[in-house]
Amino acid sequence: MSDRLGAPLVIGTPVAEFEPRPPTVRGYRPDLAADGWSTAGFAVRAASVRGYQHRHDGTPRQDDFALAWHPSTDALVLAVADGVSGADLSHLGATLACRTAVEQLLRLLDGSPAPDPDWREVLRCAGWALVEYAGQQADSVNSAAEWAERRLASTLVAAVVLPGPDGTARALVARVGDSSAWVLDGGGWAEVFGGGAAGGVVTAAVTALPRVPAEVAGAVVDLPAGAVLLVGTDGVGTALGDGTGPVGDALAAGLAGRPSPVQLAHLLDFSRETFDDDRTLVAVWPLPPPEPEPAAAVPAAAAADPTADRRAAAELIAAGLSPEELAIAGLADAGADGGGAGAEAEP
């Protein structure tokens, strides 16, 4: 990782240097977005950076992502979208698609800890979000779908990641369009949805919401311990190729140290001639189980590890202890969902 976060990582021949222009369409969209956190089962990092061509043209970043944690299952839900460049408000479409898909998947998890998503339905919901937004903007309700396709069209890839035993995980993934997912295991890249067509010239058509393919094939990916799940847009995919080139090497090296969100954004912002599309990548590391805890009767020691606290608290609740009793055990705040700061409560 470069010491100078102001300068992009150069891979091969860099793109031309210039000062980015401001976006000229409505709907605020920052040049980059970054996020990341950890749960008991996963660490996740996500970043989305505006492509050099869009920076040069004054076009907003049309990629977006959304992340969520589902507390009762410790599942991770995520979505990545790439707004179609020909659709002038596709950055809004990308955001709508991501957030709607994540919400739909969280609801599925509410109903079942081991969901079997009807992916076509999930994707249709994401597509409908675009049409509904269009309905508020278009002249008539009948033209909303057409308006959405013309101005909001976006690809989408969505995933539910469920924790497994011993640092493994299972990911359920589906998509519309050419955004994709990979498994990075020991430096080697494997694409979840298989390779593209070989030979001939490149054909550039892409399926995008609000259209959904008649048949949607979801993929089930079993992540071995130590593997990383990556979900990203074609701005990453085309540069990555089959992962054997310098981009695959640079990303694998950068991800090996589990970068901070800001470091991931910097890594994604690499400069390489002809690769100037928006880039978005979400990385998920299934976490190994914690070391066996010391004697359970020593709360101060447990308090040093907030995730251990939460698990301990959950076990105590299951055992029928009241919050007051938890307080006595020094775990009161840790018992609340997402209350990581509670680990500092004194007994």
Partner: protein, 225 residues
Amino acid sequence: MAENLGTVLPVYVVADESASMTPVVDELNAGLTALHRALLRQPMAAAKVRFSLLGFSDTVEVRLALADLRTESALPVLSTRGATSYGAAFQALLEGIPEDVGTLKEQGYAVFRPAVFFLTDGQPTDEPDWRETYRQLVNPETNRAAPNIIACGVGEAKARTVLDIATRPEFAFVATPGTELGLAIAEFGVALTRSIVASAVSAVAGKTELVVERPESFVMAVDVV
């Protein structure tokens, strides 16, 4: 396998160098210079264009082959000579394009469907022999790198012939009758620039194969037929 260097768009400008082009060849050259300058202002698009310039009359002269215009100080100059053999022009493309695509792939590039800008001021002198070569060139069944052809007719060019050359009706342009030929060619140069840049931008996003902008004084050939 070569290192993955991205996707490029091969662009071929195929210009009629027959004797009747003499009054307009200077303006065509000026148009190409303007194109060069405009492309240099779009460094990212320019990085994805590989530019070839072919002049044809009885024979074909390759003036520039698969050039990265960022590294060219000036474009070669077209001249005028001889008759108007469309067959020679299409034969050169039929042989040259698959070879060029192969070269680019060996270098590590993926290749968008090539774009040919075909500029002519007159009727072919090899009618109808050129048509068989043309059919082979644009048939994607036999030529995997079959190009999109944008045909631009100036001067005495017949709309029917221009339509026959363009691979889609919307890719056919003829100068409006009464338009100054020099002006028409200058506008063609600007339209050409925009088309290349727009195509390359679309290529980035990977959503469309080709965008063509219509110059104001040009009309769709369909409108004239």
